[in-house]
Symmetry: C2
Subunit: 694 residues, 2 copies
């Protein structure tokens, strides 16, 4: 990286003296002020393409005293408010990183980033790339060889180019082409993924031109065949008007007659949520989308910051150009900017509160983002129950959850991302993967072991989704450690004469590194604060992390895929906190080379015992497509649980009011409601609530 | 086993000519007829203690033609109806197994079982054992040494004795003793598990007498100390009236204004459920509780029979007598007989239908079991979604689930057991573990690596819960195979020059055996019918089995625990179907020796390729107690998924009607509802349903 001038802009571009919380996202005037400061640092009429104008989070060392003052009602220390800016000189590959101080209007840093540092895509750019691919005469000439029916509409899906080290220093897009159903060309929502064609233009962003046109392999091997006239194939639409819909599903409404149990205090661009002893602040940025800060339960600190850090989706097909398909959906595009505008009654049930956000656009202006987070409560079934078999008395409570949900669309794919809290002190993170498979053309009758034919002529390649959740803990204070417990068999001895005994052994992680689950040892990772002890059993207060199993990166260790996805090789990374190390795959993932993410940070081998530690939790699926995943995929659900371990002095949900009919108002379905009840069962049902017999 | 007389009873005991479905549980008159036939086979006034009078399921070879005729509307073949009976000559250890033909009134089989075959407990017997333990003069003398406060109430929890090969051929119970809070002795629902005492009487069932009184170790080792005066300890109650309850939880009601979408046809003692293209028959028996038969989707056969087969809970403390704590909750007691009487508005939300059952009692009479299964629908969040980022149009459906739930109380512990079906062709099985930990006394200040102190003086020992779900498939026919897929890296080659490729390889299981998951290979087990091919991609129709990871049995291979829990050492057992092989741990688990369960069946090494196969799916938790699990444990949730793989020709939930506000009737929570909204956000929210922008 080479340092350029650090400019001070005219005061007119300064944001008004901010009263924002230090962790609140930039507001609209701060965004335009920051981009204005950068514009002013260049000669007039320099055309800048902004990639991000976002909060430069203050150092944790400044925020912690602020939070302490905030929660104890003391005078608030002043924390300077800064913006982080990424931009190009438009139509060049000159990529810059800048930090501006919003109060003083000073540009504190403004550097041209070196080779192999690229920004991700933005909406304007992606639309432009689509268009360039389709308008290129060379591309048109190739398409003509397919002799498509008159009026066929071609769709271009730009893909992040990926890295293979072969002439790929320039920033490029690889477009995959599809057609709409030729018999229904006017349908703008036709599922073009059912009709891929084997032509793939490559566009450089430097001058936005087509630099190469790849013809795609469609057989069992990497042979590239001459383009031939296209054989008409059937469509496969997902829209409801193309289905014979089920008619026997009756409504199920969630009704909250007294409203929701949560409270949202909007403080400018961030919101403070309180619900069932939980309290936290919600932010939202272009890259991560939802971020939770300062998470507390019953006034005890739990997490400084929680966010999805990144995800990587490498594909299995080793043939050019598919071998480069390895997206970082957060780093390459951004979970915030791709967030859906959620709609009442569609994306959640019950009493819903929506959060809005403001993000930047490519001109340094403001993109309003409405309804990007929905907040609601849900019933999660029985929370706990016990029946005394001697008396028949049952005690039962239901589990209520608070959900913060955001949905992102990444071209073909959707992710439904949710933080979930419950009354037992648990904080969970759920991902639902849905949307449409990324498809490619395949010849009739061909089978390959790296993908599934999901429609005539359509191959859905196997791919991994590897997510990294960033957990910055502060369990009763910010000096924490990470340990793991293992359950191990006792050797036979006088103490264990029958070979049945086992014990649990704790190992403390001293040094930063990557660590793996071992189900045969019931290995469980915990975040602990040994300085705070459970009042009953003296054990350190802790939260355990329960993540589902996943297959780690399959690409070999020397591959670009492996080098770039720095989080994809271990279940857990534990590192020492450093400001500005938020993204597990590095700050710049597009066409990256690796070396700047969590693996590199862990390699510093810093002490992480009773330090300010950060944990990256990896999870995912190896998606071997089924035909049932097409034309749109039923949600595949993944869930991380973080649960208290000796943090409280008893079940924290013990004080949840009992589950009673007067509160729940359920309805008895009787035989009378059945169409063909052959024999009624006599018996008094449902009159007496919540007693039970063995 | 020695064969006794096969008697024919007087016709008066015959059940009326039955019109029951061959898979319907015995009705009340069949139960009394069967026990009457057995009674009549003995001299008058012989006192029998019945342990089970249940349906002897007809051979599958007889049922399959019946089901085919039933579904095609053809004349139904006659299937003989039989009862299975287990009983003792009361106050002896003479344990019998019998089968009677209900139509003819003939006793077809009536044998005295040999040594080490014991029945489980029954309610009458368990109550009697409790009483005997407390009334024994020797026990009273030991208790007196504790010098408990005047009026202290002692509670006796009988435990299945377990097996260690040490003088344990007789059938016995080991009782663990507790006290109610001495300051609140009148509270019948006081949580005695918070106040264990170190005296443990052993009762033989032969003459129902105390044969031994164990004094329990309470230190770090197996030293047995002299009993000393009891030090008063605080109680730890779970009842709501002992808590300061939360007051800020508002009601959340599930309202189904048009009723439920399912239909139940009660046919005598079994019920046929139809819902969203699913159809199956529900039975209920003493041992397994809920059993599903003849499960179909859209008229295609999927499963012949689904049930929880058994569970084993071995404990970690190797010290006498704790080393014998290894319960088989289904085999030793029975999930059916322990089922809770579920109450409207307590155990489910929404429109609920309840199923009743009839089981036998210890006298051969009838025990009515009301509301043992509740049936309801639940919303399971978004089912699938896609937004076309070019047009902004979102298509989204919600996932509706049908739930059949049963809750069992096993002394201290509860299990919430549920089959769940959805519209994407998925059939899931969920277990929630809750209730109270099995506790034992521990000296103040002592820590042990095989348990957690959860209350002053109370140790909750680590223990495993290992479940076995029995899956008897018939995917498009009853000849199926089991395979597993693995995702493996491709070696580098001209085809895979960048080291990124991977492929999926299928292995067919030829021979019965136990098999394990391998997450590093993404190993996925599938049930397949290769005779039926997917119309689009030609792959065999299949369902995959997705089970969460669990640590297998920790007790060593030579231990009784390991020998007895025949399912606990592998994720999956695949065996050839044989009638009467339903229970993974063997038919008689109480004080068993092993050799009669699924491991033994697998050891026959029969061909299971394109045969009538049965799959036992194991799952569970190693429960290392947290203090948060006391005095009652927040549900720990485990879930098995069975999902179609190339079984359908596209997403089966494609025809679910779109998620729309007119149907869902959600409510917008506005700033007005917030107590302290500092800054309102202006913006039109929630007006237009189900379109979205990127």
């Amino acid at each position: 990286m080479s340092t350029e001038t650090v400019a001070t802009a005219p005061a007119v571009f300064s944001a008004k003296q901010s009263v924002s919380h230090p962790l609140a996202p930039l507001n609209a005037s701060e965004i335009t002020a920051a981009s204005g400061l950068i514009k002013a640092s260049w000669p007039a009429h320099t055309d800048l393409q902004f990639k991000a104008v976002t909060l430069e989070e203050p150092p944790k060392s400044e925020v912690l005293p602020y939070l302490e003052a905030e929660h104890s009602g003391k005078p608030l220390p002043r924390v300077s408010r800064k913006a982080f800016v990424n931009y190009y000189i438009r139509n060049t590959n000159k990529f810059h990183e800048a930090v501006v101080d919003l109060a003083s209007g000073r540009v504190l840093r403004n550097v041209l980033l070196g080779p192999n540092f690229h920004a991700g895509g933005d909406g304007e750019e992606i639309m432009k790339v689509e268009q360039i691919a389709l308008e290129d005469e060379g591309v048109k000439a190739e398409i003509a060889k397919l002799k498509l029916p008159e009026g066929t509409v071609i769709i271009s899906d730009p893909w992040i180019y990926g890295s293979d080290g072969v002439n790929d220093d320039a920033r490029m897009y690889q477009c995959f082409l599809y057609i709409r159903d030729p018999l229904n060309s006017a349908e703008a929502d036709s599922n073009h993924y059912a009709l891929p064609i084997p032509i793939s233009p490559v566009i450089t962003t430097e001058d936005m031109s087509v630099v190469r046109i790849d013809i795609l392999p469609t057989g069992v091997d990497n042979t590239i065949k001459e383009l031939e006239p296209y054989q008409i194939k059937p469509p496969n639409e997902y829209l409801p008007e193309h289905q014979k819909l089920r008619t026997d599903l009756k409504p199920l409404n969630v009704v909250q007659p007294e409203g929701a149990s949560f409270n949202v205090t909007q403080e400018g661009t961030s919101s403070v949520l309180t619900w069932q002893k939980w309290q936290f602040r919600v932010g939202f940025n272009q890259r991560e989308g939802m971020v939770l800060y300062d998470v507390r339960y019953d006034n005890r600190t739990l997490f400084y910051r929680l966010s999805l850090s990144d995800m990587n989706i490498p594909y299995a097909d080793p043939r050019h150009p598919y071998h480069k398909k390895s997206a970082f959906d957060l780093g390459d595009v951004g979970a915030g900017i791709m967030a859906n505008n959620l709609k009442l009654g569609c994306d959640c049930l019950g009493s819903i509160y929506y959060l809005d956000a403001v993000l930047s656009d490519d001109k340094g202006g403001v993109t309003p983002m409405e309804n990007v987070v929905c907040i609601h409560e849900q019933d999660a079934g029985i929370g706990w129950k016990h029946t005394n078999y001697r008396t028949g008395r049952a005690a039962v409570v239901r589990s209520r959850e608070l959900v913060l949900q955001s949905i992102i669309t990444v071209a073909n794919y959707e992710y439904i991302l949710a933080f979930q809290f419950n009354q037992a002190g648990e904080c969970n993170y759920e991902v639902r993967a849905t949307g449409i498979l990324s498809t490619q053309p395949i010849d009739e009758g061909v089978e390959v072991p790296f993908g599934t034919v999901v429609h005539p002529g359509v191959l859905a390649t196997h791919h991994q989704h590897i997510f990294s959740l960033r957990v910055d803990p502060m369990l009763d204070g910010y000096l924490n450690r990470v340990t793991y417990d293992e359950a191990l068999p006792m050797p036979r001895s006088d103490f264990n004469p029958h070979g049945t005994g086992y014990y649990v052994q704790e190992t403390v992680i001293d040094q930063s590194g990557g660590f793996d689950l071992d189900y045969d040892k019931n290995r469980i990772f915990k975040i602990q604060n040994p300085a705070v002890r459970n009042p009953i059993n003296g054990k350190p207060v802790a939260y355990k992390i329960m993540a589902p199993p996943f297959q780690k990166m399959l690409a070999d260790k020397d591959s670009f895929n492996h080098k770039r996805a720095e989080f994809a090789d271990h279940n857990i990374y534990v590192v020492k906190h450093h400001d500005d190390e938020l993204f597990a795959g590095g700050k710049y993932t597009n066409q990256s080379r690796g070396g700047h993410g969590v693996r590199a940070w862990a390699d510093r081998k810093e002490s992480v015992k009773d330090e300010d530690v950060v944990v990256f939790v990896q999870f995912g699926i190896n998606h071997v497509p089924r035909i049932e995943d097409f034309p749109v995929m039923p949600c595949e659900i993944l869930k991380i649980h973080m649960k208290p371990v000796n943090f409280f002095d008893k079940n924290p949900a013990l004080d949840v009011p009992p589950s009673e009919q007067s509160f729940n108002k359920s309805t008895l379905v009787s035989q009378a409601h059945q169409q063909s009840g052959a024999e009624a069962t006599v018996g008094a049902k449902g009159e007496v609530c919540c007693s039970s017999k063995l």
